[in-house]
């Protein structure tokens, strides 16, 4: 165990080392877009943040960002569990703005969602957030106004625990993954409204057809094409916004920027990994270094060692790596659709780099993702039938295959806002995520996550079921087929009640679903040790459940954290209202 002072000490020693060697990387030499930006701490428990339009450089190209204290990402907000913090946020934009503290338990008026918890921060004005810090771990913060988050308005947040962490490390680095576009995100959204595959340059072509024919035979290939065509869906639909327009960032640096974190061989290095992207899941790995996951969404989990993990938008994971060798390691975060990557280096000295792993071939959706009824076929039967899906690669035998069927869909197809439904709903918590079914090394799965201490063990009194729905062709996103503007009231939670939230993904894409203000305990089979999540990625055609104690009165946002999906209506307000029942 080490104290916070030691952590900070080693961090500043690292900075001193950098300065001494006079080998500051480009980002640290001043000029626009320096990261980390100016220290927000202005008093014992006081912080200042300034939102402004600032030019930044991304891989040698100039862009205009919405920055926090001048940087993308914004500065590290470092709190200590138990303190009450005051954060003055000044909006120097010519439009309203906001800051939301992602995953933080606080009074709802401080949650920072305009139109839900407060009116927003008008241009030129300052809003003062003040709340007691009741948790610890790695989190982040971002704008909840319009598409400002896409323009760079996000940053990391670290809360040091009141009691020492239950794991030891010698040094820590924050890794903020994100996706940057030089274009105006509203214009990009308008393009998607008119042609939803506008940015997808990894679609199946005639060449793929002939390759599949030679691999699987004509009949199987034709049948596969007909199956997808009948549904008017594309197996290549992995990401709506792709590397065609995105530059993927690691701590604000593009792949060429090669952000570098230092270590001394043999040190235990804690990496606080935050997916602050708006639309991009990442496959995260450091080739040659196993990662021991110690926290998920800021909460302690039973340590589990993996070689790779798929990080959903808005999730955070803390891992410990122990590089023994005196060499550089590449930190590689491949976008899930493999149209690009963010990259940095973990090195014993500045200026080093390691070979950059090649992008793997793009994954494909499967009939499992479509929630198709496979007619009770066994896996072997599927293979023989030629319905073996691209990307599943079940013939390798390395992967257990899709999770079990747990439910079937009701006759309600959710109207024109939804295309298709998950006729067959599966428990997919044991699956590693799209494209990682057969990578030949250990990949983190949700069933690996086991809380270190038991949380609330009350049985749920009530169930709420919500379906994630969408119409890719029209680029409409919703819950239960209804956009936010179409519903008549918030979702009621009764104060003090314990409830089970069931999420069913009727779409063929992953959705990172985020509940503000309250933890969601993922029912992943670990009994009294269910892991707490603030953001849960729901796989295509998956049915999962979460336990929630409605212990936070007020209005809370609940939404898909893919920014454009949220903005298109996959958004709800949960209202926790007074209740006469038992409290715990």
């Amino acid at each position: 165990m080490i104290s916070r002072r030691q952590v900070l000490g080693s961090a500043s020693a690292g900075a001193a080392l950098l300065a001494l060697e006079g080998l500051l990387p480009a980002w640290a030499r001043g000029g626009p877009g320096v990261w980390p930006p100016a220290d927000p701490r202005s008093g014992a428990h006081e912080f200042d943040l300034e939102i402004a339009r600032t030019p930044i450089m991304v891989d040698g190209r100039r862009g205009s960002a919405v920055t926090l204290n001048g940087g993308v990402p914004g500065p590290i907000m470092r709190f200590r569990e138990g303190e009450t913090v005051t954060i003055r946020v000044r909006n120097r934009l010519d439009e309203p703005s906001s800051i939301h503290w992602h995953g933080i338990l606080l009074p709802f008026e401080m949650d920072g969602v305009p139109g839900v918890s407060f009116p927003g921060i008008p241009p030129g004005e300052t809003f003062t957030y003040r709340y007691p810090v009741r948790q610890s771990g790695t989190y982040w913060y971002h704008s909840h106004t319009g598409l400002q988050e896409q323009l760079g308005q996000y940053g990391p947040m670290i809360i040091d625990p009141a009691e020492p962490d239950p794991f030891a490390y010698d040094r820590e680095h924050v890794i903020v993954l994100s996706d940057w576009m030089f274009a105006n995100p509203y214009r990009v959204l308008a393009k998607l409204k008119k042609q939803s595959d506008y940015l997808n340059y990894q679609q199946r072509t005639l060449g793929d057809f002939f390759r599949d024919v030679s691999a699987k035979g004509f009949a199987a290939t034709w049948k596969d094409r007909l199956a997808w065509g009948r549904m008017r869906m594309s197996p290549a639909d992995i990401a709506d916004v792709t590397g065609h327009i995105y530059t993927y960032l690691l701590n604000g640096q593009g792949p060429q920027g090669n952000w570098t974190a230092l270590f001394k061989p043999g040190e235990r290095v804690r990496l606080r990994i935050i997916n602050a992207a708006t639309m991009s899941y990442f496959n995260f790995r450091i080739p040659g270094l196993p990662m021991t996951v110690v926290q998920a969404d800021g909460q302690n989990v039973k340590p589990v060692t993996v070689d790779e993990m798929q990080i959903a938008v808005a999730e955070t994971y803390d891992v410990i790596v122990t590089p023994d060798e005196d060499r550089a390691f590449t930190i590689f975060a491949e976008s899930m659709d493999r149209s690009g990557y963010a990259r940095g280096t973990l090195a014993p000295r500045p200026g080093m780099s390691a070979p950059v792993t090649a992008l793997r071939p793009p994954p494909r959706r499967t009939m499992i993702d479509m929630g198709m009824d496979m007619g009770g076929m066994k896996m072997g039967g599927m293979k023989m039938d030629g319905m073996k899906m691209d990307g599943m690669k079940m013939d390798s035998g390395a992967m257990a295959g899709p999770g079990p069927i747990v439910a079937r869909h009701s006759p309600d197809h959710h109207g024109p806002g939804a295309v298709g439904i998950a006729e067959v709903q599966r428990n997919r918590l044991g699956e590693p995520g799209t494209g990682l079914e057969d990578v030949g090394h250990r990949v983190l799965v949700y069933t690996d996550l086991k809380a270190l201490v038991p949380y609330n063990q009350r049985a749920p009194q009530r169930e709420v079921e919500l379906h994630l729905t969408g119409n890719m062709e029209r680029y409409m996103w919703s819950f239960d087929g209804k956009k936010f503007s179409e519903v008549k009231s918030p979702i009621p939670f009764h104060y003090g009640e314990r409830l089970r939230l069931i999420l069913v993904n009727d779409t063929m894409m992953e959705h990172p679903i985020h509940l503000h203000g309250m933890w969601m305990e993922l029912e992943n089979g670990h009994g009294n040790y269910l892991p707490r999540k603030h953001t849960i990625s729901v796989k295509p055609a998956e049915r999962l459940s979460l336990l929630i104690t409605a212990d936070a009165p007020g209005r809370w946002a609940f939404h898909c954290h893919l920014l454009l999906h949220m903005d298109m209506g996959m958004f709800r307000v949960v209202e926790v209202t007074p209740y006469e029942g038992e409290l715990s």
Binding site: G120, Y201, G207
Partner: protein
């Protein structure tokens, strides 16, 4: 006078603030005076020149413009469709041969299809009827883009048209597009040269290259066959019943 203005202003402020206090935005339960957290009902505008092409066959080249666009939300749109055909050596010949403009209200009725209703006005040197239009436009199973409509003219003549397009990806940017257009009529309309039944059938194939999604020049071939009485009307007018053309054009949208 001043007192009255002040009185009205006070009333307005009172009513306004009263409304703000009393009202909530139903989806959020938050005060209605606050801007909603998201805006999922924006209005978008789409303009497409689907076919802008020179058609080379026997005789003078012809120019075809087929464009459409809409303004609206997910559920409700106003569509405008315009098609014009001109004959002659790059506009130097007889000029506009025929043209039509449609203005349609379009309503989302299923996940993939909109119901449309409105009017069509033909313009050109010949007769220029006005039609009432109802139609269905959208994406059919197996990725067929379908635009179908029934037209009832001010003379009471009923005709119909179905257009079907399909995109065939040779590469991510080189895309082949087979296209079928069928015109049908419930009766002979001699003054327009339309015969009852299946009046014309047009098959085309265009090969475009998407420099950007929005900008795609193409080459292609088109074969149009008039059938039944329509063929007879055309032959009587000294036209051919079957026309094969080579096409050079550009597809644009924004």
């Amino acid at each position: 006078m001043n007192a009255r203005i002040i009185f009205l202003a006070v009333v307005a402020i009172f009513l306004g603030s009263g409304a703000a206090i009393a009202q909530e935005y139903p989806p959020s339960g938050a005060p209605a005076a606050w801007s909603p957290p998201i805006d999922d009902s924006r209005t978008y505008t789409f303009v497409q020149v689907d076919r802008s092409e020179l058609r080379f066959g026997k005789g003078d080249p012809r120019y075809l413009l087929d464009s459409q666009g809409w303004i609206g939300t997910d559920a409700n749109k106003l569509w405008v469709k315009a098609e014009a055909e001109a004959e002659g050596q790059f506009g130097a010949g007889r000029g506009l041969e025929q043209a039509e403009v449609q203005g349609l209200y379009s309503r989302m009725v299923t996940s993939f299809f909109d119901f449309q209703a409105g009017i069509r006005q033909d313009v050109g040197p010949g007769p220029s009827p006005t039609y009432a239009v109802i139609g269905l436009q959208g994406l059919a199973p197996y990725w067929f883009e379908v635009d179908s409509a029934l037209f009832l003219s001010d003379d009471g003549d009923l005709t119909a048209r179905v257009e079907v397009e399909y995109d065939l990806l040779f590469t991510q940017r080189l895309i082949g597009q087979p296209r079928l257009e069928v015109n049908l009529a419930a009766q002979d309309v001699p003054k327009l040269g339309i015969g009852a039944g299946l009046s014309t059938l047009e098959l085309g194939f265009r090969l475009r290259y998407e420099f950007r999604r929005e900008v795609a020049p193409y080459i292609g071939v088109s074969w149009e066959q008039a059938l039944g009485d329509t063929a007879d009307f055309r032959r009587a007018a000294g036209e051919r019943a079957s026309v094969t053309s080579f096409l050079v054009g550009i597809r644009l949208w924004f």
